[in-house]
Amino acid sequence: MIWTIIQTSWRRLKNNRSELLLTFLVPIVFFSIFAVIFGSRDSASLTPKIKVAISNQWPNELADRTVALLREQKTLRLTASTPRTASQSTDSISVTRESAEDLVRRGMVSAAVVFVKPSPDLALNGTAQVEVLSDSFDQIASQVLTAVVQKALMTATAEIAKLQTTRSRDDGVALAGYTNSIRPAMIATQPPMISSIDILGGKKTNPVIAMYAAGIAVMFLLFSATTASGSLLEERENSTLDRLLCSRLTMDQLLLGKWSFLTMIGFVQMTLMFIWGAIVFGIDLRHHIEGFIAMTLVTAGAASSFALMLASLCKSRMQLGWVSTIVILTMSALGGSMVPRYLMSETIQNAGLWTFNAWALDGYNKIFWRELQLRDVGLELVVLTASGFVFIVAARVFAIRWERA
């Protein structure tokens, strides 16, 4: 009897191609996708680089040498720095401390290094200061950068000290005889102080929650929208679609009706999640309500369009189930819903831009984390709206086959 049950179960599995794929192939596909996304960090070419801006407010031999050493670091990508010479200004952006802070605040760079010009009193005391302006959104970048800057400073200090010793021997001049005019060079021989400043997360009550709320919300928005869009396939399977299209309803109206409903439900779903986050976890929803509404509307709209596209592409609810699971989990992994994108290699980060999770998360990140204005998420809003439009048009095209055989 038991053998009969086993035999029958195997035969049923063998005859059900979808279940067979879901059982044996999908886990391998998932494993491969996640291995590619998260396992490629050992490869030098794919290692994520930290985007850094450097502001040198106190040009001297030590600062110049430190910047030069930082430029040589493979883990860093200097996207903006203070030009050392006039000729360099053509390919560099002039960065003040304020603009460096602004770059960090806007997420253009992960962190900034500022060589602070000491006040006259400090100069007399012989202490220099280097600030690492960090964004605790990228918790790894600030720590790595601090260590790298420290190493560069120590190296530069040692090199300069060695150079000065050589010069002093050559010149035969006692160190005690230095005047104030050459004091900066002396200061450079002492290790400067490094202070790490968290630009964004320092004042927030619960910084981590604000980052992850959007990630989880977008992923579940996609899942619930796709599940709900399966009603289209159910209607087709039980001939309700025939009946609907025999009435005054057109396919355009049907799709737009479903899209509107899914968007409304998605909006309410996201709103409830953020309200819960605000009440229980202290997300500051009240001061970001405008940006939240704009982002949530376009995100819910794009997710609904995407779900309808998947539904109109599939032949059955079962197929929709496993296709959507694969696609959504992959998009969520690439787009940063599961693991922050800064942990991924640059290649994967760029690939993530093809998912609307990434754009949605960037938008929410700018609103809630970076506290930017609505105009600052314009690009995200445009990309999400455009992708939503493309998805719904694709859904309409795929649905043509249901209109008339």
Binding site: N238, S239, R243, C246, R248, A405
Partner: protein, 322 residues
């Protein structure tokens, strides 16, 4: 969109005096890959007529039905409702469709389902309320209007399924096997409902595999096979034109027979004689006499009138189609 008051309005060119058929299928052709589903199918239905559309599985019935409600685009030919092509705007509004599947929302109540499909057919406010109330009464579910249809029995679901197709008072009602899987009581109820509609002048086109239903509940029968109409007419006419009006006489005997009487088929295994007669009253005594002469003792006697079942098998054959 038309308003509720214009819902039943027919095109100006259409008259309902019977001169123009309610439904006319003209030389319909449809091919799916290598499978020729329809091969020049033609027939028509008069206003108020009840037509049964029959055919073995794979004969092209479903394609024909789906073509009639505009869900399949034929390769050639046309379908006219009261003289207007179904491709013209709003013409399909005269058609009510009841699919074979339960094309209702099982997670809605009976009333909510009716309201949904009523609205999709352009019914609004008072008119919608009236029609929903009428439909609930018509299907005998007034007292369970607010219950989820998923909790209904098969027969009740079928009735809701039919009601959703007639809310907008269509001139032609297309039913695809409306009684499949329901008990005799529910079937009776469904046909009583359809009779009521028919009496009100609704043209009913019914596809079914229940030949007794087709025979007793329709004015005319169309049999489709291999995508063509192989028979079209009232049941008596079909019988007369195919297997004739001769009665089948079966005589069951006991005892040892010397030989079968001439003109009779002998089923030795069951001790049965079969023959066909034009006039039962005149010929039956002679038949019985002949059997007794060859040594047979008569145990039972059956006289069968030819029916749709015989016609159907005569025209479409006895071999399986699937």
């Amino acid at each position: 969109m038309l308003g509720p008051n214009t819902l039943l309005a027919l095109p100006e060119s259409v008259s309902r005096n019977g001169a123009i058929p309610a439904l006319e299928v003209v030389n319909l052709w449809k091919k799916y890959g290598t499978n020729q589903a329809l091969s020049g199918t033609s027939f028509s239905v008069a206003p108020g007529e009840r037509l049964a559309l029959l055919g073995p599985n794979g004969a092209g019935k479903t394609t024909l039905v789906r073509s009639m409600c505009g869900r399949v685009r034929p390769d050639d030919g046309q379908i006219l409702l009261f003289g207007c092509s179904i491709r013209e705007p709003n013409v399909l509004q005269q058609l009510g469709v009841v699919p074979q599947d339960l094309a209702i929302y099982l997670d809605l109540t009976a009333k909510e389902n009716l309201e949904c499909f009523g609205q999709l057919h352009g019914l609004r406010s008072r008119k919608l309320k009236e029609r929903v109330a009428w439909a609930l009464k018509w299907i005998g579910l007034e007292d369970r209007a607010n219950e989820l249809t998923s909790r209904f029995s098969g027969g009740m679901k079928r009735r809701v399924n039919i009601a959703c197709g007639v809310l907008h008072r269509p001139s032609i009602l297309l039913l695809d096997e409306p009684t499949v899987g329901v008990d005799p009581q529910s079937r009776q109820r469904i046909f009583d409902m359809l009779d009521e509609l028919s009496q009100q002048g609704t043209c009913i086109v019914l596809t079914t595999h229940h030949l007794d239903e087709a025979e007793t509940r329709s004015d005319r029968i169309v049999i489709v096979d291999h995508g063509k109409v192989v028979a079209d007419g009232p049941i008596d006419e079909l019988i007369a034109n195919t297997i004739g009006v001769r009665r089948e006489v079966i005589v069951e005997t006991e005892g040892i027979m010397v030989a079968a009487p001439p003109g009779m088929e002998w089923d030795a295994a069951r001790n049965r004689f079969t023959c066909y007669v034009d006039n039962v009253v005149e010929e039956l005594p002679h038949i019985l006499d002949r059997i007794q002469r060859v040594g047979g003792t008569i145990r039972d006697l059956e006289v069968h009138q030819p029916n749709l079942h015989h016609v159907f098998l005569h025209l479409t054959g006895k071999e399986l189609r699937e």
